[in-house]
Symmetry: C2
Subunit: 356 residues, 2 copies
């Protein structure tokens, strides 16, 4: 049985790192005898928008709905298309319409990557952020009143549902159960945000009863961000609302020095819809076209996609390939300039594919 | 003319660090010939709550309203009184009722304090977080529907007003104007939180026109937290909504290693109501009663209070006193255990008072 993958490079360096992501997937497919079937799409890009006046064709759901995975590059050309148009018109649209209610991001100290934190070694930091990805603070409910006057007031609702919270908690608890430390940390702010966040806490407590062998704690988001910096070794699986998860899943990779190479998975765990895999980095218009963009984020995304398909070993082989090349260092491996090396995007991609 | 100060130690180590805060203020008062008039209050503590069934007496506004400053310790005894009761019943009540709409927190690398960030030296990091302190995400508007069923939904409004945003922006721009770098960074999330945050951005842009010599930029909160870790030297004055400011003003001190010694000021800039000065740290029930709590947060709060009164020189003298003692190190100065020394709360307080 073959897996069908929609390739959506998007904008800027998305187009440069994507071929390397595919190269790594093909290497893993050869080694583990998998069948991967790629199809390319040019929409969900600002170029498409400039030509068509919209980010996606009308029948995008039909076109993409039958795929097993969406392999996504990066979207955004803020000089030409405002971010809220390009993002709500593509990425955020996919998350909602394909009910990708889990956003999963690993935070791991990798060999050969300089952490901005003092005295931390590979192995010291290794956790996942599980972010609710469809509701919460990212709502479209609200508006303005007394517009343009001194009395102007603007209101936006945070909307949390039992269904929405419980299903992401379930995913996070099950992930924690599969990990050696079996630890789950919930991000809250129930001492200040006094209606939604106490509800979040209640649901965590209720869910915890079904997972007696998972060790649960919680922190308010303010001190939790501080603890990411002070005690990143405390964490194993961190579960958070849409906004808090957004913050923690940029901060976590920053603490491990991996913000330029970190992957993220937007998952529909039931496989009713395709899941989407995109590097955390953006389209980086400033370095686009120079063949120096780091392809590791895209390649690591491929590993997460294979794991999502159930090919755990093949996914692990890609991550090990990345680690082997990083560990070789800029002298021995063609690392890109952001990693202190002189390699190009394609040279680094080839080296990783060879290691796989 | 004398300044009237209400002393409210609160709970736990609040009671141990408060005398050292007062000692430092008295030392500065002697040196600069200021008249400070202290009065002590036992309410706004959990002990008071346990005796009276409420955190504050009915006439607390009359009792405190005439003071120039509220010198606050720490509140909270979560084992005996839930946090949302003790906090909404005291600190959050003061902020709203006394219209302390600016929460100001310095983030500065101090000599002798170990930063969790690699390769950062005192002087490298020195910025302020200016947090909106009365509205925004900390609203009391919202509720639950379909309670106890599968359809349960919980809604909480974020409420921003032009008045509320503009006045804190004005404060932040004026602060930036007085600093050598004249730089202001706005925390936003207008790419995801699509109603309130674009409005915040608009008000920042409108206000910026009145301050042409301030250099303004903005970051989305997710990458901003990452940049606090990766590039803390980029920042000078950071202005943020109530929730984003809450997060940034814990993360900033964490990055400078000063979360245990950082001060915070809840300011009513018009002096219509007393402002409140409280250390960032909490009541720390675990170390209470052992005379080992670090009093620097409380002492630094005293410096901010004197600055608020217009006694800039005296405030600076207190900060210099703190820096001199920290720079002496644990061999020469009676630093508390959290700073690697063997001093007690009162010995460290005495050393700083002597340095002033
Ligand atoms: C205790 C809590 C309600 C408070 C806040 O969120 O404002 C605290 O974190 C702070 O920053 O002063
Ligand atoms: C681009 C933006 C809307 C998006 C988000 O906030 O979800 C991004 O920050 C992310 O984390 O994928």
């Amino acid at each position: 049985m073959s897996q069908r993958i929609a390739v959506i490079p998007g904008d800027g360096i998305g187009n440069e790192v994507m071929p390397e992501g595919i190269r790594a997937l093909e290497a893993a497919a050869r080694r583990f005898d998998l069948k991967l079937d790629f199809r390319h799409f040019d929409f969900a890009s600002c170029d498409y928008y400039l030509d068509h006046g919209r980010m996606l064709p009308e029948d995008w759901k039909e076109q993409l709905g039958g795929f097993d995975g969406l392999f996504f590059g990066a979207v955004g050309m803020p000089d030409k298309v405002p971010d809220h148009i390009s993002l709500w018109g593509s990425l955020l649209q996919f998350r909602r319409s394909f009910d990708q209610y889990v956003n999963l991001r690993p935070c791991r100290l990798m060999p050969g990557i300089r952490s901005p934190l003092a005295d931390r070694r590979p192995g010291d930091i290794d956790f996942y952020v599980v972010r609710e990805n469809t509701e919460g603070e990212y709502s479209s409910v609200g508006g303005r009143m007394f517009e343009g006057t001194e009395r102007e007031v603007v209101i936006q609702d945070t909307v949390m549902t039992r269904t929405g919270i419980d299903r992401v908690l379930k995913y996070a608890f099950e992930l924690a159960e599969r990990r050696p430390r079996r630890k789950l940390t919930s991000a809250t702010k129930s001492n200040g945000i006094s209606i939604t966040m106490p509800y979040w806490d209640e649901r965590v407590q209720a869910m915890a009863e079904h997972y007696p062998n998972v060790d649960v704690d919680k922190f308010h988001i303010d001190i939790l961000t501080a603890n990411f910096v002070l005690h990143p070794d405390w964490f194993d699986v961190v579960v958070a609302s849409n906004l808090f998860g957004d913050i923690l899943s940029d901060l976590g990779p920053a603490c491990t020095g991996t913000i330029g190479v970190a992957p993220s998975a937007n998952i529909n765990p039931e496989h009713h819809f395709p899941s989407l895999f995109e590097p955390v980095h953006g389209s980086a218009p400033d370095i686009h076209g120079r063949n120096i963009a780091n392809p590791i984020g895209q390649i690591w995304c491929g590993a997460m996609m294979l794991e999502h398909f159930g090919h755990e070993q093949a996914g692990r082989a890609i991550v090990e390939g990345i680690e082997a090349v990083l560990a070789a260092g800029p002298e021995a491996a063609p690392l890109t300039p952001d990693l202190g090396g002189k390699g190009s995007t394609s040279e680094l991609g080839e080296a990783i594919a060879a290691a796989i």
